[in-house]
Symmetry: C5
Amino acid sequence: MAKKHKHGRKRRTHVKPRRTAPGAAPGTLVADPAAPAPVISVMAYGPERLLQEDVADPSRLRDYIQRWPMTWINVDGLGNAATIEAIGKALGLHHLALEDVVNTHQRPKLEEYGDHLFIVVRMPHPEEPFQTEQLSMFLGADYVITFQERAGDCFEPVRKRIRERRNRLLEAGYLAYSLIDALIDSYFPVLDTFSDRLERLEEEVVQRPTAASLGHVHDVRHDLLTLRRSIWPSRDILNSLARDPIPLISDTTRTYFRDCYDHAVRIIDLVETFRELNSSLIELYQSTVSQRMNEIMKVLTVIATIFIPLTFVAGLYGMNFNTQVSPLNLPELNWYYGYPFALSVMLLVVAAMIVYFRRRGWIGA
Amino acid sequence: MAKKHKHGRKRRTHVKPRRTAPGAAPGTLVADPAAPAPVISVMAYGPERLLQEDVADPSRLRDYIQRWPMTWINVDGLGNAATIEAIGKALGLHHLALEDVVNTHQRPKLEEYGDHLFIVVRMPHPEEPFQTEQLSMFLGADYVITFQERAGDCFEPVRKRIRERRNRLLEAGYLAYSLIDALIDSYFPVLDTFSDRLERLEEEVVQRPTAASLGHVHDVRHDLLTLRRSIWPSRDILNSLARDPIPLISDTTRTYFRDCYDHAVRIIDLVETFRELNSSLIELYQSTVSQRMNEIMKVLTVIATIFIPLTFVAGLYGMNFNTQVSPLNLPELNWYYGYPFALSVMLLVVAAMIVYFRRRGWIGA
Amino acid sequence: MAKKHKHGRKRRTHVKPRRTAPGAAPGTLVADPAAPAPVISVMAYGPERLLQEDVADPSRLRDYIQRWPMTWINVDGLGNAATIEAIGKALGLHHLALEDVVNTHQRPKLEEYGDHLFIVVRMPHPEEPFQTEQLSMFLGADYVITFQERAGDCFEPVRKRIRERRNRLLEAGYLAYSLIDALIDSYFPVLDTFSDRLERLEEEVVQRPTAASLGHVHDVRHDLLTLRRSIWPSRDILNSLARDPIPLISDTTRTYFRDCYDHAVRIIDLVETFRELNSSLIELYQSTVSQRMNEIMKVLTVIATIFIPLTFVAGLYGMNFNTQVSPLNLPELNWYYGYPFALSVMLLVVAAMIVYFRRRGWIGA
Amino acid sequence: MAKKHKHGRKRRTHVKPRRTAPGAAPGTLVADPAAPAPVISVMAYGPERLLQEDVADPSRLRDYIQRWPMTWINVDGLGNAATIEAIGKALGLHHLALEDVVNTHQRPKLEEYGDHLFIVVRMPHPEEPFQTEQLSMFLGADYVITFQERAGDCFEPVRKRIRERRNRLLEAGYLAYSLIDALIDSYFPVLDTFSDRLERLEEEVVQRPTAASLGHVHDVRHDLLTLRRSIWPSRDILNSLARDPIPLISDTTRTYFRDCYDHAVRIIDLVETFRELNSSLIELYQSTVSQRMNEIMKVLTVIATIFIPLTFVAGLYGMNFNTQVSPLNLPELNWYYGYPFALSVMLLVVAAMIVYFRRRGWIGA
Amino acid sequence: MAKKHKHGRKRRTHVKPRRTAPGAAPGTLVADPAAPAPVISVMAYGPERLLQEDVADPSRLRDYIQRWPMTWINVDGLGNAATIEAIGKALGLHHLALEDVVNTHQRPKLEEYGDHLFIVVRMPHPEEPFQTEQLSMFLGADYVITFQERAGDCFEPVRKRIRERRNRLLEAGYLAYSLIDALIDSYFPVLDTFSDRLERLEEEVVQRPTAASLGHVHDVRHDLLTLRRSIWPSRDILNSLARDPIPLISDTTRTYFRDCYDHAVRIIDLVETFRELNSSLIELYQSTVSQRMNEIMKVLTVIATIFIPLTFVAGLYGMNFNTQVSPLNLPELNWYYGYPFALSVMLLVVAAMIVYFRRRGWIGA
């Protein structure tokens, strides 16, 4: 996703190629061969008991849901279309939704399919250039199924709470909220990174702007656009979860989603602020650079301007007029104090110019 | 549509001239004489059988619709008003809609005419400069009629599915969906092209900006505006097809249109992102160019500034003061080490200036 | 309205002075003395017969409406308040509407007054600078009354259809539609002009930008703003005519207005595109100009930079050190190959600099 | 409000200080000591009779309203809190509204207080820098009360109509409309001034831009922002008066307010156009200035570039190589046509450079 | 929060770090160890009596509310999670709301929790860089609870009114209004500061722009963004309080909130105006700077351009052509008036150039 740029910047690719060919029958699953193979792990629990295991055979998945009060099935890696299809078949997931799971370029969205909800949100990655991973979630009455692009997520604290104090997490809607809340909150450290980048950039731009600085500003803009594209639609989803009468979400959980919605709005606020600040860095940069250039040109031109009249005076007394022919021809050449006189004239010229330049503020006092 | 520009860029024309004269009675069909002649091809099928043939006589078209469970009539080329009119008459199409079919500059739109829907969308062409072709579609209870500006389209996979596995495609609404979906999805490869163009442009702008670079940025902006004008209204149409209670669209098909709507929104997202990135290329360009210019001017000015005092010293000792008249007149000229002394003075001046310039960071270390 | 500018551009006036004094009783008619005198012409017709004549006495106008199935009264010129008032009185038009007829700076609008509609739209003029003329229309059950600022309009095709094939035009709403449609469609040739102007401007700006170019861009922006101010509100009016349940407009006619609305939206699309393209011309211009300036300065500075060291060398051997006093003082002056040596040094310096400049890409290969 | 700026511009203050201290009990009246003292004048009238007098004692005001069919009380000047409070008490005005009357920085607004309406609009002043005065109006069933910041207003024509032909003005709502209409229409002359200022500025910017020009553009922007802040909310008020079912406004009067609303919309249109035109003046200015600067630098650099090679040639023949030592040392110095030869070389160089510069279009033909 | 920048500007940090870790159970309170410890003060009162005291034990707080008609509990400082939790427990506050109290980066918001409202607004601080403090408020039927980040607020006038004339303040909604009104009104002095800063900046930018000026403009922009982020959502809250049927707010109090809403809108108006003016300062700055630079470069180049031809003439007569060999070789050297002639030539050249430069307006008359 990120190739190395000549100027030391990592290059951003703008669009992920679509996996499925245009015109293919909808619901056709085409896995990315480079993606990691799916690993299925299950957390099934009731108030008293907890089962946590990895599952190799997708067809067994329905059993967990039927036997346990609450089941969370998590799939890491989408590199095998057959496995994903088997999971979908075992759990009765809609093929359009499954297609969206595999094509990991989805916009965050919320869709109702009969008895379950299909939610797509995007999990931020801390590295630079900024990237997001797609989290696809199916929410049923007593199960939550999540698909991630690869292992590693921000859900460890939720798993810990399931293991330790799972009372509230027996409700599927609340588990979904906990996962989404953890995901949304994981944007905050990312924003901190952006804040740091902007501060470093501002310092760079003001103190020691180089040819690469504007490239860095451009990169931040690019990353902010990516971030914005993943958080804006999330807000709409959270708004819907917090206000619409969705049967799978209890009133209490709705209050929690409202809180999560507030976080999303705050993230958007900050992203927009960052975008404005980043834009103004360009102006700062251009101004600093031209200021420096002006400074250099001014000093150089002042030096040249001071020496040009001096060179003229020297040239004057380098003329070969015949002083023998007439006393009018360069008589200074034969004065006793001729050379000191010429030097004094030069000094005077320099002094006058320096005074003049200083008065107009062109050179420092 | 695309003439060759002097600067090696293809020129864009901004408006297609309207065919029908202002004030003409509505529904007057005026064909573009330069357009290809209409070729009518029919795919008529039921669960068991399939008929696929070209039709020369428009008046026979109604028969297919009456005799077959499902008929798809496709017309390639709009160069003959009489033929189009005959088709319209045979199939009972509204003359206002027919006028829109022939005037191929329509905005994407969706209109209900009694028992059939009239849909206009725009099919992207992969070439540069970016262009779109108008696809006009009539959707009835058991037929779909499509008009294209010329032969060649993105519907081959749909035709293949009709030939091979046409169960779902027996519903007219679903066939319409399949065609529109194929069309919308054919924007994705176009977006890939834009992505590549933007990356190449960014590299060009940062590494070797020329006088033509900004022209290229301008062209991309132009193409993105065209793309935007054809995809934005498509979104509204898809939204309407996915949410409004249109009798010709079944609930199941509506779910599919929702998916298609999501794709349109994603395309819009990317178009807007591309527009922002393209805008910021202008800033990058201007900054790179002025940076390079500054660099050149700086080096040249530094060279000049270093030599100007030297020339002055040389001029000084080129003065013709009479050294015989007084010992004060340029005594250095008669010194034993006069010339070496002058050279040393010059070297010292150069060294001092270089040290000064280096300290201020004006020349590399 | 358009005075000649020093720079060869026609000057735009921004606001038309209001005729009626602020605070005057509403409905006070004050005619522009410079406007042409009103000429009233009537087309009265039924399915069988057609009467077409000019009318001098406004009080006779009501007779036409009462005696004929359908009457179209057209008034060209608004230069006589008494005549306009007499027309209004004869036909029972609201005085507020009449005031708007005379003050020809109205925004396009649609108002219901009891049994008739009052519509204001703006007719584009093809000349440059772009201007619009106000068309005020009263639409009753069996009459249409139109007021134009001066003779000459885009309604000839409609008149021709009335004379030749007036079946549909027996409905007042449809006649109103035909007139408005002709007016809206007459924007398309204007857009073609703008398209041409923009293309010419782009070529001018890229190929041979002059001091006046930006003025031209500024003029186009000005004209586009005028165009935009007259077409945007027209869209709202057409939307209202196409969707609101107005009794004077039949359902069939409403379908036609929907088509007309589509045209207005397309015009707006193009106007906005033109505005964007025009804005980007400014950037193109500034970039081209600074590119050219940079080119000139670069070449000039390169020339100066090459000669400055040469002049120094020449100055060096122009120094008057006494070669008799010591063999260290400018021994080159007495060398056999002294002059050729000096010339070679100069040539070497020039060659080195040219190689250096070429390597850095500052001068062409 | 307007202090003199060093650069000959009047300085704008951005915020009026608030009179009432934050946290004070709402409805606390604090008068501006510098404001003129209130002068109360009453116009009380019926169909037959008219009373017009100044009133010193606020407590008598209620009598007029009770005894006359229609009363208009106008207060000029707000410099005495006690008087304002007495007026409010006598007429039963809400203390929050009274607070708004005295704090003359209100945004235009419309509020219902029980049986009367409270309306705030802003009256434009023709002077530069642009300023507005607050008009506060109370509208009851048979009275209108207006508060102005100081004497002098745009209501003379309304007073004249009351004196001469007051039939319609017996309705309080219609009187309110007449006053607001006069006020809104008084924006048109102000817009004319802005139009003139913009035209003058455009000429200044294109013909003879000075350091102060951009300051003038900045001032116009400032004034347009002030104008915009006062007219935008007025539109909402007029919209509400023209469409909402407010009992104090009769249906007929509502039609008039609709007309007034149209005027407000037209003013907004023009203000936005002016803002765009003003923005583009900055680009014009920067372009003109840099064009001029470029012109100067080009000519100067061309002169320098032409002379530098000449000086080099002169320096060449000023070298002191010993022509006695060898025939290779500057043999030209001893040629019979040496000096003419040198001059010819110089002329040739000049001619070549001029031809080259002319070909590249750097100097005029 | 504000570190000292090298360029004499205080640096802004963009995001406050979140206290609670992502994924933690909602409602987990984590106090900022650096924050001041909570100090609880109570004002409990009825029409006759008033009790004002500091409370150390949170568990006693419920007693005040039960025993007194009206209680205002204010907490200054949030540095101890246990204390905040105890307060929340004693008063039955929702743990999600409590979490928002402690995480003092909340956006202004209004939430209903069963029988009480939870309101967050932000109190402005007058210092530069601009900062806001979070005020969290719980509003019940007969109590108001406020949490502030630290001691010191804008509520002194409200406390004074409670002590002196508390009749209206016996209603909890009205007390809440009084506090929020005082808070909103405390934005006005802040706006005055911004107005002053902008005026000072404008003067600085126009009169004596330095390298730091743009940094100052950037800082103002930053502060305006912060200000905007805290006032915009406040407007929505006030709108909701003024229009929605919230049982805790009486109709009378709603009228007051409408007034407060007006103030918020006015603040927003001014903030947006300030933002526009600030943006245009950048243009002013860039223009002033380049104007000055141009002035300098022009003068310097004029000086150089005048001297270069002079130096050439001097060089000409410094050539060593042998005047003995031919009368064509520099005969001027042997003229009686040779030197005066050369000087005259030089003077003439200078005069001609000065006349030319003056005519073109490049140097002052």
